[in-house]
Subunit: 332 residues, 2 copies
């Protein structure tokens, strides 16, 4: 079924107020959940709302907790997320990183004690909408084996990079595992195999079987040792800069909470104008679009390109949501 | 054969002076080449020296050109590399990014009109030696197909991330292609196959045959569409921030020159002390080292861990160099 954006936003907002969120915070939180589904990231949108409310009810996420600045120096700040809602904390942090970039050309916020930001891409779009380059990354619980290991001891640690462009922002939102658990669960439900190796089996052999990967929690890092290395570096960066918990520390608890994140913004129109940047970016995009294609019916896309199509469709037709999930949301 | 570090450095330095480099610049350039080989990155160390000298002789790299600051705002600067030696330009840029981080907590230099920095990891080690987190990335000529294409229209755009640690810096130095051309050429010479898919054949099918990949210039992005997306974002970032040439523009010339790079430094001991950071980093490293292993004789390493072992061995025994290549260097 499909729900209109405003309707979904309003209902989520009501449920959040009921859970203990102040009105304006509930509205923003609802918006970020609906934005994720609107843009096609269903796994971190409406599909995740019920479990988010549960985390609040269980005390892992604190509805009334607001992040606070603990340290400041030049263009960099350290924040304590105080175990508040991850997406609200991340939104505040990106807002401040944008301000730091306006003042200093570049700015950085490192935040400890925060929670899952759901769809990371939201904060890339946020920076781009404000005319800034946004780079942010997070650690997670251990959910991916570092290269050479047969147990999950690093995170899939998503990385977001966004570049503003008046004719359509460019936004990359990727985790360090080849496939998201959402994608693998979906493929397993259909009884299908993954299109490429997605992880390891019990004997450490690469497999395309999603059930095996999910069962073992042994998803494949992108590019094998390379994605493993990048995931380790991102965990180290967020941990050292925020003074917060590393993937290993997060994994000591049964539930994922109290994670660490970094938000960097750069003002891109200080030396070149917005129009000059547009020419440079369009040059790159046109060059990509003119590629000779592997398969006739496929295209080369820039990161974020298909998001705009999905967004348009979902705003027109309504936002797709599983009937059962929507029922669960209404019953909260 | 093996050459002692000082001997190699001295000989390279002499050849650089002969090519038109001032004494101190020749010494630093020689050092950076020998450092690469010392740390095991032979493909971008002594093995690359003869072709570097040729680029100077052909006028693509200008021995006497020094980078200049063209714009400044807060903690960010734009530089023009003036077609000078890529590794000397990069070293200067990282020095200034370190200074900006000392003053502002974070700093960023974007440089256009520079050249191949050879081993990017050198500049990560440089930042870490100065007690800074260093992040730098570069574009290249088109040498990798963006996802969906059957021709190279993006670069393998190496990314370097370094974190200082008194008991051994952590340095990731990776390109966006699954295997370097150096590695593929080496494997092809032995008549062997790559251990994993390394690129595409004429029909766009994944292959482990290095010769096929090299011939088609169709190396595989790490994580398929993900590494493709990351490579595109890095090209866009260096191009927009520096106002310089994109991968597509670089590809309009036969020879790779006049590329674009970004250098970001962050001071990691502003809010947490060096000792506190050490505890956090060692916690992550110990957690990784304690992983249950896929194969008994393999280990889980943090990025840069094996570099230190190679460095120690090569400083003791001398730096490995192919006899023919050393002969060519001596004959320059």
């Amino acid at each position: 079924m499909r729900i209109q954006y405003r309707e979904a936003e309003q209902i989520l907002s009501e449920k959040l107020i009921k859970t203990g969120y102040q009105k304006d915070r509930a509205a923003l939180c609802a918006q970020l959940f609906v934005d994720a589904s609107r843009d096609g990231v269903y796994s971190h949108g409406l599909n995740r709302f019920v479990s988010f409310i549960q985390l609040n009810q269980e005390g892992y996420v604190k509805p009334d907790a607001q992040p606070k600045v603990t340290d400041r120096f030049g263009a960099i700040e350290r924040w304590d997320g105080q175990m508040g809602a991850g997406m609200l904390n991340a939104y505040s942090a990106m807002e401040s990183a944008i301000q730091l970039a306006q003042t200093n050309g570049i700015g950085c916020i490192a935040m400890k004690n925060t929670n899952h930001w759901m769809r990371g891409g939201n904060f890339g779009w946020q920076a781009a909408e404000a005319g800034c380059i946004g780079i942010c990354f997070t650690n997670t619980k251990p959910n991916m084996p570092p290269w050479g290991a047969k147990e999950p001891r690093t995170g899939n640690n998503p990385l977001v990079i966004a570049i503003p462009r008046s004719s359509g922002h460019i936004v990359l939102d990727m985790s360090m595992s080849q496939f998201s658990f959402g994608k693998m669960i979906e493929t397993a439900k259909k009884g299908e195999k993954l299109p490429f190796h997605g992880g390891f089996d019990h004997e450490g052999k690469l497999t395309k079987d999603p059930e095996t990967v999910i069962e073992n929690e042994l998803s494949l890092p992108i590019g094998y040792w390379k994605g493993s290395g990048l995931s380790i570096m991102l965990d180290m960066l967020v941990t050292v800069l925020s003074g917060g918990r590393s993937t290993g520390k997060i994994g000591e608890d049964e539930v994922e909470f109290g994670i660490s994140q970094v938000f960097i913004c750069i003002k891109p129109d200080l030396f070149g104008t917005e129009a000059e940047n547009e020419v440079l970016l369009n040059g790159i995009i046109n060059y990509l679009h003119q590629s000779e294609l592997l398969k006739e019916n496929e295209n080369v896309y820039y990161p974020g390109e298909r998001t705009l199509k999905t967004r348009k469709e979902n705003m027109e037709k309504g936002i797709p949501v599983d009937e059962k999930i929507w029922e669960e949301i209404l019953n909260l």
